[in-house]
Every structure is written in C-alpha cells, then in structure tokens.
C-alpha cells in the first residue's frame, strides 16, 4: 500500500510539472494582456486599455470576421460530410474500404506544409480557383472532414443499433428512422466534432497562409504578420480571448457529454 502512495505522489508531481509547462505561456499571455507595459512583456500595473485598443482595431475586426466565416462554413460542411461518411463506412462493406479509410487519415496526419503547398499548386496551376475565401474554405474542409469522420465513427461503434432495427420493424421508413432514431443518438458525437473542428479551423495558420493569396487576412495570419515585429499587448489580448473561448467551449462540451450519460 505504501509503495502505491509513493508512486501516486511521484507521478502526480510530474503531471503537475507538465501542466505548469503547458500553461506557463498561456498564463503569461493573460497576465501581460492586463499589464500597462507597452511591449507586452513585463508587469507594470493593471490596465484594460489594450482591450479598448483591440475593439478599435479595424484590421483585427476584419480578420476576425473572415476567420469566423471560414470556420462557420467549415464546421457545417465538415460535420455533414463526416456524418455521411461515417454512416457509409459503418453500414456498407465494399472492396477498397480499408484503402478509403487510410486515405481519409492522410489529411489528418500530413504536415500542414504538404497539404498547404499541394493545394496551392493545385488551385493556381490546375483548376484555377481564386485564392481567397473559396480556396481557404475548400482547404479547411479537406483537413477538417477527416476529424469529423473519425469522431463520429468512433461513436457509431459504441452505438446500440437495435433501436434502428426496432423502428424499421415497426414500419418506419428509412428516412424517418434516420431522422427520429439514428440522428438524435448521434447528435452528441456530431456536436463534439463540430466543437473540435471550430477551433481547428479558426486557429489554422500554415495551410491558410499557403492558400490565402493576397488580401485575405484571417486572424492567425494577422497575428503572424504582427509577430514579425515581436510580441505586442494587443496580441496578448487576442491570445487571452482565444483561451477564454476554448475553455467555454470545452466546458459546454463536457456538460453536453454529462447530459448524454444521464
């Protein structure tokens, strides 16, 4: 028993250290976003002026708007595609299914520079899609849909399919069965994938940077262009808002899952 306690203490201490390592930069960003130091790198007293500056910054507002549109469209399309794909992969068996599954994995694990550069060359040299909203949104759907597929597929594997059979046996049409029985059961997984895809799309820098072209500055691209001149307090406020929104999203997701369990 004693040994077990020691093990738990040592491992707990190690885990705490790692959490500190992961959080240190985040805490620094939050603290300095309220500091009056104008380089955003030291504590000089409390101020909210950087947040006021952020609200007046039209570049940030434009970039934020673009990022929200891109992430919004990406979430809707990717979860839709993900749901259909997962359903098809689960229900049907056909030749080449393993190959398709592995291929879907590719955009998920490929380095962003590969996806970004290949799509850039494809868009500009082969199909001539204008760089900007169309190219950015397509690229985001390409790397976000696989995430939805695997989250929803994972859920389907733990799914009680007898409900669906029961509905069919009782005379419900396939469409009605899907809408009234299958979809409601899948809803938590669909919500989870939407809530994971949103920050993924919203925060993507590398792929977007490749395919954005000139003038389509999303928020991460704006941040990158500012960071060339070093960190600034306004960037700290953006970082703080990011963390806040992520935390709220995850708490919401947790509550959803809790409700599902009940």
């Amino acid at each position: 028993m004693k040994r077990r306690q020691i093990a738990s203490k040592v491992l707990g201490g190690l885990s705490a250290l790692i959490v500190v390592f992961l959080w240190a930069p985040v805490v620094l960003i939050i603290v300095f976003s309220f500091s009056s130091n104008k380089y955003g790198v030291a504590w000089e007293g409390f101020t909210l002026s950087w947040y006021a500056k952020l609200l007046q910054n039209t570049d940030v507002k434009d970039a934020l708007f673009r990022s929200l549109v891109v992430a919004g469209v990406t979430v809707v399309v990717s979860t839709l595609v993900g749901t259909m794909t997962a359903y098809g992969l689960y229900k049907l068996s056909f030749r080449g299914k393993q190959f398709l599954r592995t291929s879907i994995l590719l955009p998920l694990v490929f380095p962003s520079v590969v996806t970004g550069s290949a799509l850039l060359v494809f868009f500009t040299r082969l199909i001539h899609i204008p760089l900007g909203f169309p190219s950015i949104i397509i690229a985001h759907i390409v790397f976000c849909s696989p995430l939805a597929v695997f989250i929803i597929l994972g859920r389907m594997q733990r799914f009680d399919w007898s409900w669906e059979e029961a509905a069919m046996d009782l005379g419900a049409t396939p469409v009605r069965t899907f809408m009234r029985v299958t979809a409601p059961q899948l809803l938590p997984a669909i919500a989870a994938s939407a809530m994971l895809i949103f920050p993924w799309s919203f925060d993507d820098f590398v792929i977007t940077y490749f395919v954005a072209g000139v003038g389509s500055t999303t928020l991460p691209i704006y941040v990158f262009s500012q960071l060339r001149f070093g960190s600034t307090p306004v960037l700290n406020t953006i970082g703080t808002l990011f963390v806040t929104v992520t935390m709220l999203g995850l708490i919401l997701l947790g509550l959803l899952q809790k409700r599902e369990k009940r």
Binding site: L11, F224, I238, G239
Partner: protein, 302 residues
C-alpha cells in the same frame, strides 16, 4: 433441372440488384468524401509530383522541360541531410513525448479519481488556443532576457544568460510543447479502456506491480502508443512554425525548406519536389507503422 437453372438466374439477378443497391448507397453516403480524397488530396499530390520534374527559369518561372535534379537534391544532396535531421529530431521528440506522456496518462487514468476530467481539461485547453501566440510566449520565456534566464541570474546560478534559442534543443522543446497533448490523449484513452479484471488477474496470479506493468498494461496499451506516435511523429517531421520560431536560421527542418521555397523563393518545381518527397517519406512511414504495429490496435485507439 429446369428449376435449378431458374433459381440460379433469379439469384444472379438478385445479386445484381443487391450490387446496384450497394453502389447507390455508397454514392449517396460516400461521394463527398471520395471527392475530397481523390480531387483534393490525391490530385494535388499528383500535381506536385508532376511539377517536381520541371526546371526553373532564371526568374523563378516554370520551364516545361524534364529534369530529375530536384528529386536528386532531396535524395542525395544537401536537402537529403536536412530530411534525415528532421526525421531524427522528430524521433527524439516522439520518444520524449512518450517518456513524459505515458506517466501522466497513467497517473490520470489510475489515480485521477474524480479529478480526471479536470486533468484532461487542463491538458487540452492550452493546445486548442492560438498556437502562434503561445509559441511566441514560450519563446519569450526562454529568450536571453526571458523569465528563466532572469531568475537564474538573480539567484546567482549563472552570470551570463544561457543561449537556449536557436539550438536543436530549443526546437525540440518547442516540438514537445506543441505536440505532447496529442501523445497524452490517445494513451490516456487506451489506458481508460483497459479491463480492470485483467489487471486484477495478473495481481492474483502473483505478478509484482512492475512486472504487471511491463507484461500486461504496456502491451495492452500499444494501440494508444501507436496512435499517439503517428499523431506526433508524422506532422513533426514536416513542422515549419516551431523550427521557424525556435531555430531561426540555425536549425532548419524539412518543413522549413518547403515553406521557404513556396513563400519566399517562389520556386514551384523545387518546392513541389520537397513537398512530394516529404509526403512520400511520411506515407511510407505510416504504411510501415500500420503494417508492423497492427491496424487493429491503431484503430481501436483512434
């Protein structure tokens, strides 16, 4: 006789009907992802393979003449060395992530109790909030006038600030920082999926804890380790931002080369060949991992 032929014909017709139904269902559910995979993943890869064999003109324009120079530069030239270095660095990062990530996952799964969700939350939140800003903040912390150097100097341990940035060590630290959560979560998931009865059985049969860990727990969580390694190792080889921020011009990785050719030099043939060779290398590694690591274990963890 007549009858058997009849049933054969009708069964063939029903097989055909069944096939048609399957095809219809497939096209209904799977056509969007098939378009994504074939048009927006494979076709772009094909295009960059094609451009890899073209020459570059004096102003960076594409000259439609065949050459193998670009590919040769990656296979045997200076770029090849950078590729090997990237793989080596990614391997080190991956091993470090396992050495750090496994104990944490184990702790949360076994001793987390009612704080499990909180621990997972604490690990996920930083990794889902502005990658760029966080990396720069980390850079500020380890910089020559950052928190770490300031503290060490004030405590009198060192006289001059340590040069941490722009070294392979700094790049590795940045990589571990960025990718560690992607190792922890799959391992944690596979540990949570362990059947407690199996562990009890090992103890009842007299296995001491250490032996039980290495003979039972570790082999059963291989899928999580494998999934985590794929999620960490493969993107890490092609990482651009981390070496860009922490390595500057001193530590260059394969991803840096690709980004530099496309965004700075505007050299599409060379950039394409680098990107394609990177993709090919990683597909090979993915294939070998799945082949020797076992697909089943991997998919259970994903």
């Amino acid at each position: 006789m007549m009858q058997t032929i009849d049933t054969e014909v009708s069964s063939q017709a029903s097989i055909r009907r069944e096939k048609r139904r399957l095809l219809l269902a497939m096209s209904a559910y799977l056509s969007p992802i098939i378009v994504i995979v074939f048009v927006f993943v494979f076709a772009p890869l094909g295009i960059i393979l094609f451009f890899s064999f073209l020459k570059t003109g004096p102003y960076g324009q594409i000259v439609y003449e065949f050459t193998v120079e670009n590919i040769k530069a990656v296979l045997v030239g200076a770029y090849g060395k950078i590729f090997l270095q990237s793989i080596y660095l990614a391997l080190q990062t991956n091993i470090l992530c396992i050495l750090i990530g496994y104990p944490i996952s184990y702790f949360i799964a076994r001793y987390g109790g009612r704080f499990k969700a909180l621990w997972v939350f604490l690990i996920i939140v930083p990794s889902w909030s502005s990658y760029l800003i966080r990396l720069y903040a980390l850079k500020t912390i380890v910089g020559t006038s950052g928190v770490i150097n300031d503290t060490l100097i004030n405590l009198g341990f060192i006289a001059e600030p340590l040069q941490i940035l722009y070294t392979p060590f700094a790049v590795m630290m940045g990589l571990v920082y960025a990718w560690l959560p992607f190792m922890i979560l799959p391992i944690y998931a596979s540990l949570e999926g362990l059947d407690p009865a199996v562990l009890e059985a090992a103890t009842d049969l007299g296995a001491p804890p250490v032996r039980r860990f290495f003979r039972v727990t570790l082999p059963l969580t291989r899928g999580g380790l494998l999934a985590g390694s794929i999620l960490v190792f493969i993107p890490t080889v092609g990482e651009w931002l981390v070496p860009h921020i922490f390595g500057g011009s001193k530590v260059i990785m394969a991803g840096t080369l690709v980004a530099q050719k496309f965004t700075v030099a505007g050299n599409i043939p060379q950039g394409s060949s680098l990107a394609f060779m990177l993709a090919a290398t990683l597909i090979l590694i993915l294939y070998l991992t799945i082949k020797f690591g076992g697909r089943e274990a991997l998919e259970r963890a994903l």
